[in-house]
Amino acid sequence: MGDLLALKVHDQDNVATVFANEVKAGMVINVRDKKGRIFPVELRNDLPYGHKLAIEPIKKGTPVRKYGEEIGVATQDIAPGEHVHVHNMDSQRGRGDLERG
């Protein structure tokens, strides 16, 4: 599984980004942090190249963090190994739809 790699960009992140092709549910992916430490996470979904997985539980309504910053909010509970994307997280910016409400 040496080639299956995801990067955790910042210590405070709760997601990692996959830089590998043909990544499927049930595979174990090696998540590497900035210091080069590696920990395995079992994937719950197929993951396209460049997409994110949760590396810790993310509660509905709490921030998704990458680069040590908030990149959005979870719209449902997300478990480690789950694909994190537009289906289960939302942006908090540029939301003309919410202001019109």
Binding site: L7, V9, T17, F19, N21, P48, Y49, G50, H51, K52, V64, K66, Y67, E69, E70, I71, G72, V84, H85, V86, M89, D90, S91, Q92, R93, G94, R95, G96, D97, L98, E99, R100
Partner: protein, 409 residues
Amino acid sequence: MSIIWTVSGDAEILSVVKGGIPVKFMGYVRPDGQVGARNYVAVIPSVVCATEVVEAIVSQTELTKGYFHHQGCCQLPPDLERVMDSLIGLGANPNVGAALVVSLGCEGVDNERLVEGIAKTGKPVEIIRIQELGGATKAIARGIEVAQKLVMAIAGQQREPVEISNFVMGIKCGASDATSGLASNCAIGYVADKIVDLGGTVVFGETTEFIGAEHILARRAATPEVGEKILQIVEEMETRAKSLGCDMRKGQPTPGNIAGGLSTIEEKSLGAIVKSGTRPIQGVLDYTERVNGRKGLWIKDSPGREPEILTGMAIAGAQCILFSTGRGAPQGFPTVPVLKICGNPNTFAHLECHMDINAGRILTGEKSIEEVGEEIFTKLLRVLSGETTKGESIRYTKTMDIYTLGPVI
């Protein structure tokens, strides 16, 4: 002197020199002291209605480039000013050695001020008027004659060695994916820091893609006023984005960004700002504003879409633009070489006809950010000195437009 001369294609350049000797490139020194990396006659329609005459002129004359924008009439006065100032900036760009303005004759842009504005740089400027000349066929014939004279006036100019501090670098990322913020933008950020440290100028923009990352940029502002200005331009851009009462997602991030793994504008922005490096931000340039000799790192207040922001960089005075991409953006610019730095190793392999540098090797572990950054810097000196980019070699350089604020009326 340990200056190293190398020969690459038809360009003789000074390559990277260590030990305190200034880094140089071979450029065209203009009458106003700016230095060009190319030597073109810009053929400038003052209004969209003149573009077909311009197309005919540039197809028949060597070393000419047309600016095929869609503005210049039936716009509110602030936008007409904006178009005129933009066209002056495009004519004044140091890669332009001479300019031919093609007017229809009844447009909103003030042609006299346009010609005067470009002429202030000291370069030759001519104008022809389609209605006055008796229509397109006569204007094309006259335009070719005038363009040929301008070409012959500048074609003999030779490149000279100049210090890299004369370089204004534009930066842009387009068709981004998750690799952009972790590979190509990191390598461009390394180059941006290096150009600033060598006394040059770096301009980055895409205000839309500061949304969610503006607090980080504001912290890097050289003064509190600049920090306030950064927050202000982001707020204005976000207000515009929200004005139609919908979620900006799909507009930004684009469907391609989303397919590439970027879920929100915040995530896209946090990756996008990495390309600006780490140096202090000296100020914010308006869309039509030129650098005019100012050094260090600057923001150009602009949208993220390629035709408008590449134009904004050319207006600023950029002689070359570093363009980061993950999905594979092909865009170039008529008068300014655009160097494609690809963060995604799959895309680099798949779209090799567009991509100049493979920064995806950072993600595969083959190269460090610094190694790819140095590779880009060396390539940059060669391109500034005349080497052709991939995009230039297949002439994927024509699309451009001017960013206006109000409606077409």
